[in-house]
Amino acid sequence: MKHSFLDQYSDRDSIIHRLDPRTKLITTLFFILAVVLMPPDRWQAFALYFFLVATLILLSRVPALYVLKRSLVIMPFVVLIAIFIPFFKEGEVAGSYNIWLWQVSVTYSGLQVFWNILAKAWLSILSLILLTSTTKFSNLLKGLEKIRLPRVMTMILSFMYRYLFVLVDEVMRMRQARDSRNFGGGRLWQIRTIGNMIGTLFIRSYERGERVYAAMMARGFDGQTRTLESLNFRQLDAFFGISLGLVLILAMVLNLWY
């Protein structure tokens, strides 16, 4: 079956694509840190961050609409987590409502924190989408390895990337097999079937794990992992890293000044 790519657009070419994955990983990390640590009332700083990430997206030639759509997929989860904050935060009350038996009130500072969480999350998500859609997943893994993420972690990520779609296929085939034999039945019956499917999927994955391990052993794997050095840090990376760092520091300084 055909699947979408996790790292769609990563095979295009632009200044951002050509950067070393390590540069991108580290600058993304610092960008997110800077965004998260900025106090909520500095909207100028957030405007600057947005301008920065928007410029980078334009430079990367990844379609802006695609980035926007992807970011909107994740935002509902953020909203779900943040939605209760305006009700619990103490401070000046903005409005108070009676819902059946309860009286709830919303505070101004609560609302501010709520909007701020959304803004921070959105900016961070944008930068991560930029990272993953300008870097091939395999290069991202190499970058993570080079900045000393434990090899076990990168291997888990690599297997996840490789077998995610294999498992999705398996689930799809199981569902088709179920649907072609399933004629109604009570709800309890349906739940039981789903339970069986999950069990089967688990056992199949476990057995696949054993076969993959055998295939690794057959090619001389002995628990030690070895890799080739194939990333190179260039002038462009130094230039990009330094300039982005300067912009972030500038934002901090401006923030302290006013």
């Binding site: 395999s138 055998a214 057959a218 001389g220 002995d222 080739l228």
Partner: protein, 240 residues
């Protein structure tokens, strides 16, 4: 003729008590292409897993005159290249290059050597230019070819393949058979695809319920309809 693999009195029992192999004896000589044929569950795959020491049990497996033990596993695995049936198990890396390079890197080759071995192996299977592709976006036929390349890149002396043509359409199947024919290396092919056996192998070994039933020239064995139908390799014969 030089003995390249020798199996003496090999028996194997799975942890659940099922007897998979009983007293198997066979010898493979250099340059041969040998078919290992038998019905589903005959013990073909289990036998193959013994040839490079992934499974071990009673009995002796000798590769190039040395018996396989825990100390020479690495050497054995560089000599006996085992290709698994399902390419999705064999190909576990994010890119084709990483997968083909996995063996040579484990063997401790330098970066330049690894690159050369990978290029050459991909050339052999006609998959040059696929280095940066991701295995889950390839067709089954392409995956099978890459799976063979992942083993050829280690420069093995014996190529051991489990069901190379399963799940392939006739076109891909015959092009894979041509590919295997072109590889000048000792081959052991486990299969129940008799067309493949006839096209490639001079010698065939029939195995059923873990026991070697027959071992001889392919033309001889494939002509014995009675033998084939008793062991699930041809339609059941009418009793006259």
């Amino acid at each position: 003729m030089e003995e390249i693999i020798r199996v003496d009195n090999l028996s194997f029992c799975y942890p659940d008590g099922r007897q998979a192999l009983t007293d198997v004896n066979l010898t493979i000589y250099r340059g041969e292409t040998v078919a290992l044929i038998g019905p589903n569950g005959a013990g073909k795959s289990t036998l193959l897993l013994h040839l490079n020491g992934i499974l071990h049990s009673d009995g002796v497996v000798k590769v190039l005159g040395r018996s396989v033990d825990d100390k020479n596993l690495r050497w054995v695995r560089s000599k006996v290249g085992l290709v698994f049936q399902n390419p999705d198990d064999q190909l576990f890396s994010p890119t084709v290059f990483d997968d083909v390079a996995f063996g040579p890197i484990n063997m401790g080759y330098s970066e330049a050597e690894v690159r050369e071995l990978v290029t050459r192996a991909l050339d052999w299977v006609g998959m040059r230019g696929y280095e940066q592709r991701s295995p889950h976006h390839l067709s089954v036929g392409e995956k099978k070819r890459i799976a063979i390349a992942t083993v050829l890149s280690m420069n093995p002396e014996i190529l051991v393949i489990d069901e190379p043509t399963s799940n392939l359409d006739p076109g891909s199947k015959w092009s894979l058979i041509e590919l295997l024919r072109g590889l000048a290396i000792t081959k052991i092919i486990a299969s129940h695809d008799l067309e493949l056996v006839q096209a490639l192998c001079q010698r065939a070994i029939v195995i059923d319920r873990g026991v070697v039933i027959a071992d001889g020239a392919t033309s001889h064995i494939l002509a014995d309809k009675r033998l084939l139908s008793t062991h699930g390799l041809a339609p059941a014969q009418k009793i006259e």
